[in-house]
Subunit: 196 residues, 2 copies
DNA sequence: TTTTTAACTGAGTAGTCAGTCAGTCTCTAT
DNA sequence: ATAGAGACTGACTGACTACTCAGTTAAAAA
C-alpha cells in the first residue's frame, strides 16, 4: 500500500519543489519525471494533465499549511490576545523560512490566474487565505475580550496584518531589498496598530 | 522623426499590456506583433531578444511611475507629515487602479526571477522600490519634524507602510478576497502605527 | 500455475515559439 | 533620377513540450 503510492508521492513532491522554485510554465513534465525518478508516461497515468498535477500540489500544500498552524496552536496558551498575534507573526515568518521551497507557490502569479477559470483552484486559495486570516482574527477577538487589543473590526485588521507579514516575507524573497532584520519593527508596528 | 519611432513605440505599448495582463512566458512574440500591427520580424529588428523587449518595457514603466509621483508631489503642500502619508496612500491606491494594465508587471514573479542573473533588471527594480519607499520616507521625516509622527526608524517604517499598501492592492487584484472597501481601515491602521 | 488487473514505460506526435534571413519597401542625399 | 541606408516583412528553422499509446512488468486473484 505504501509502495503503491510511493511513485505518485515522489511525483507530487518533485512537482511541488519545481513548480515552486522554477514556476509552472518553466517546469516541463519531463523535468518533473526525471526529478522523481519516473518515466514521463507515469506522471500522466497518475495525473491526467499538467494542470491537474498542479491542483494536486496546491491541495497538498493547503493541507500542510493548515496542519502546521493547528499543531502550532494546539494546546498553546497565550497571556493576552496581543501576545498571541505577536507569536503568530514570528511563527509565520519562521514557517515561510522553513517551507521556503514550497511557499513560493503562493507568491507566484500563476495560481491566481488559474483560479479565474478553475473553481477548484479558486477554492483551494480561498481556503488557504481564509484559514490564515481566521487564525489572526481569533487572536484579535481574544485580545479585545482581555483588553489588550482596541475595538477595531477584527476580520479586517486580521487581513491587514496578514497582508503585511506576507508582503514583508515576499519582498524579502525578491532579494531586491534586504529587509530580514526589520521583522522586529514589523511586529512592533502591528502592536501599535492594535494596542488599546 | 515621430513616425520613425511609431512602430517601435507600438511594440513597446503592446508588449507592456500583454506582459502585464498575460505574463511574460504566456505571451508570444507573434502575439505582440499582431497586437502592435507589425510583422514578427520587426520586433527583432528593434529588440534583439524577448528578454531585451521585457527590459525596455520595465524601464519604460519605471520612468512612468517616477514621473507620476513627481507630478503628484510637485508643488503640493501638506499640513503635516502624517497627512502627507495618508494622501500618498490614497494616491498609490488610485494610481494602481488607473494603471491597472501595467501594474501587474510588478506583481508577477518573472521580473524578480530575471533580476537574479540580469543586473539591468535588478537595478530597474531597485530603482522602482527605492523611489517609492523614499517618497514615504520623506513624509515620515517631515512628520517627525512637525511632531505629527512618532520617533521611529523612518526608512524601515516607510518600507513597512509601502509593503502594506502594495500587499493590499495585490491581494485585491487576486480576486480571492474582496478587500476594496477596506482601504479606509488600512489608512487608519497606518495612522495608528505612526502617530505620536 | 494461470489469469486478470493495475502500474509503469518511453518512443512518437502534433503543436508552439523564439529567433533568422534573404529580400522588399521607403526615404533621404546627392 | 539614382544610389544607398535604414526600416520592415514573413516564411522558415530548430528546439522544446504536453500528451498519447502500444506494449511490458509486477502483483493480486482465481
Amino acid at each position: 500500500m505504501k509502495k503503491k503510492l510511493s511513485k505518485k508521492e515522489a511525483i507530487l513532491e518533485s512537482a511541488t519543489q519545481l513548480f515552486s522554485q522554477k514556476g509552472y510554465r518553466t517546469t516541463s513534465m519531463s523535468e518533473v519525471a526525471r526529478e522523481a525518478g519516473v518515466a514521463d508516461g507515469t506522471i500522466f497515468y497518475h495525473f491526467k494533465t499538467k494542470e491537474e498535477l498542479f491542483l494536486a500540489v496546491l491541495e497538498n500544500f493547503k493541507n500542510e499549511l493548515i496542519a502546521e498552524f493547528s499543531t502550532y496552536l494546539d494546546g498553546r496558551e497565550f497571556q493576552t490576545g496581543l501576545e498571541k498575534i505577536e507569536d503568530l507573526l514570528s511563527f509565520y515568518i519562521s514557517l515561510v523560512n522553513r517551507l521556503e521551497d514550497r511557499f513560493l507557490l503562493l507568491h507566484r502569479h500563476f495560481p491566481y490566474t488559474l483560479a479565474k477559470n478553475n473553481p477548484a483552484c479558486k477554492s483551494h486559495l480561498e481556503e488557504i487565505y481564509d484559514s490564515l486570516i481566521t487564525v489572526f482574527e481569533q487572536g484579535i477577538v481574544q485580545g479585545q475580550a482581555d483588553g489588550s487589543i482596541d475595538d477595531l473590526p477584527a476580520r479586517t485588521m486580521a487581513m491587514i496584518i496578514f497582508t503585511l507579514v506576507d508582503g514583508m516575507v515576499r519582498l524579502y524573497s525578491y532579494h531586491i531589498y534586504q529587509n530580514g532584520p526589520h521583522y522586529n519593527d514589523l511586529i512592533a508596528s502591528c502592536r501599535r496598530m492594535l494596542k488599546k
